[in-house]
């Protein structure tokens, strides 16, 4: 493996007294797809948001494409152009049409001219299968369609890395498939992806690596076969059994070491 595309070293993050990340070390290589799983409050969303500095780490380093984001002198806006981010709540710009959602960032941030931005927008809407919705407004789209537009919007900026923060968690179950299909396509095309998700099927089939987090640390890191198929740690086994078969879970005592919900 050449130099890692994403590199996280000794990352800590606290909100007040609440330490959400307690020393994370993680490397993601070029073209690698890494799924981050874990119970709510494990810090997985916070970790993802630290990778493009939407959250300011309390301690530690984050490097993307060899540039250190945590360097106070770095031009963060320039680095973020190389990192696409997809949110749980889509966060499309509701006052703009689908096409404008894709063209405005290109023009304002990358300085592309109107024609070029429109061309790139059309290409990317085509990729996510929504070319016919080009002139629609976000409010008239289903959740699944909005999320695909959000992915196209990120792709239109030509990112080297894509971050997904529970991209299907806000969707009705029957709409999840379309979004996962787009992500699968991206993975096949060789995009470097970091995906916080509860979709175990996706993790098993698409991810090169699965990272299990709990209590602000990485508990397990390996291939899907290892982490999901035969987890070594009790905590991983416990989480997976509750996730894969929620009906079988037992009522349990709240454990005192649970940290607040970071995502």
């Amino acid at each position: 493996m050449s130099r890692p595309e994403i590199e996280v070293r000794g990352l800590h993050k606290s909100f007040g007294d609440n330490e959400v990340l307690r020393g994370i070390d993680l490397e993601i290589g070029q073209g690698e797809v890494v799924c981050v799983i874990g119970p709510s409050g494990s810090g997985k969303s916070t970790l993802l948001r630290c990778v493009n500095l939407l959250e300011e780490p309390s301690k530690g380093q984050v490097l993307v494409g060899g540039t250190e984001l945590t360097d106070p002198d770095v031009d963060i806006d320039a680095v973020r152009r190389r990192i696409g981010m997809v949110f749980q709540q889509f966060n499309l710009f509701p006052h703009l049409s689908v096409t404008e959602n894709l063209t405005l960032p290109q023009r304002r941030v990358l300085g592309r001219d109107k024609a070029q931005a429109a061309r790139v927008a059309a290409e990317n809407l085509e990729r996510v299968g929504l070319a016919e919705k080009a002139n629609a407004y976000p409010a008239s789209l289903s959740g699944g369609q909005q999320q695909r537009v959000a992915i196209a919007r990120a792709l239109a900026m030509g990112p080297e890395v894509m971050l997904f923060d529970e991209p299907t968690s806000a969707l009705d179950p029957e709409l999840v498939g379309d979004v996962l299909a787009v992500m699968r396509m991206l993975a096949r095309e060789g995009m470097t992806m970091m995906v916080v998700t509860h979709e175990m099927t996706f993790a098993r089939e698409v991810a090169d690596r699965v990272v299990f987090m709990d209590g602000g640390v990485i508990v397990e890191d390996g291939t899907p076969r290892q982490v999901i198929g035969s987890p070594r740690h009790e905590r991983t086994r416990h989480f997976l059994s509750r996730l894969l078969d929620p009906a079988m879970a037992e009522v349990e005592e709240e454990t005192s070491d649970q940290v607040g919900d970071g995502g």
Partner: protein, 277 residues
């Protein structure tokens, strides 16, 4: 307690609730109509008509009351609104700034200019500014002074409205913009403020109605004949004709603008209500 007992609701003696309600409503109507009739009968309509509704005096006001007075009122209002909007935007952004002194300054500004009567601001602009900066002329003469005075007052109210509008835009919008590489300022201008303005268009239009009425305070600045607006024009004419008809006509001219504006605001509000999913 058995089922049958529960089902047979206890019946009070006398009137049912429905009968009581229609009785009380009937009584309210009677009192209301009686009050209106008493008021109408006791007023001296002949006297009122003499003083306020002289057709020939009303006639001689046209077209000046529209082409001069209403035009000036609209001009004063719009210029004040523009100054207020620009200044209000700056104050709102200062109020939301992460820089302490900016927030502090904006807070003090809002408290002062919201707390003072607009009349005092007009007098201050008319008297204190020339004293403090002798020799300097406010650009635009009376128009500039009015725009400044109205703008200073309006900015305080608008700043709070704009701030509320900006804060009403979901946090995810700023995050999405930043993650696409927008700088904070650019995200504010391209993404947040356009959405905030959709939210605050109705209250801003209300502010325009208030300014429209406040523009009457121009008469405390001392204006030339050509610079008179509706209130001043009406009052001047009322004193030369020794009749109040011009006041009534001027009043109607205000309503000519404020009632349609109010209608527009209600339309926008109901539309905004529909848009919320």
């Amino acid at each position: 307690m058995s089922d049958t007992e529960l089902r047979s609701a206890p019946r009070r003696k006398g009137l049912t609730r429905r009968q009581k309600r229609s009785l009380s409503r009937g009584a309210q109507y009677v009192v209301f109509v009686a009050a209106v009739v008493a008021f109408a009968v006791s007023a001296d309509w002949g006297q009122l008509k003499n003083q306020f509704a002289q057709a020939d005096i009303a006639e001689q006001m046209f077209p000046d009351v529209i082409t001069l007075a209403l035009k000036n009122t609209v001009l004063y209002t719009l210029s004040g609104f523009v100054v207020g909007l620009v200044l209000g935007m700056v104050i709102a952004l200062m109020r939301l700034s992460s820089v302490g002194p900016y927030r502090w300054f904006a807070g003090v500004y809002i408290e002062i200019f919201r707390g003072l009567p607009a009349l005092l601001i007009f007098i201050f602009i008319g008297v204190a500014v020339p004293l403090a900066f002798p020799g300097t002329e406010i650009i635009g003469g009376t128009y500039g002074k009015v725009a400044l005075a109205l703008g200073l007052v309006a900015a305080a109210y608008m700043a709070e409205t704009i701030r509320a509008g900006i804060q009403a835009v979901p946090k995810g919008q700023m995050e999405a913009a930043r993650s696409l590489g927008f700088s904070p300022a650019r995200a504010m201008i391209s993404i947040i403020i356009p959405q905030a303005f959709r939210i605050i268009l109705p209250p801003l239009t209300n502010e325009l109605v208030l300014l429209f009425k406040d523009s009457s305070l121009v008469l405390f600045l001392g204006v030339t004949l050509e610079e008179r607006e509706l209130s001043k024009y009406g009052r001047d004419l009322a004193s030369t004709t020794a009749n109040s008809t011009p006041i009534l006509v001027a009043g109607l001219c205000y309503l000519l603008v404020t009632i349609p504006l109010g209608y527009v605001v209600r339309r926008m509000e109901s539309k905004a209500g529909e848009a919320v999913r």
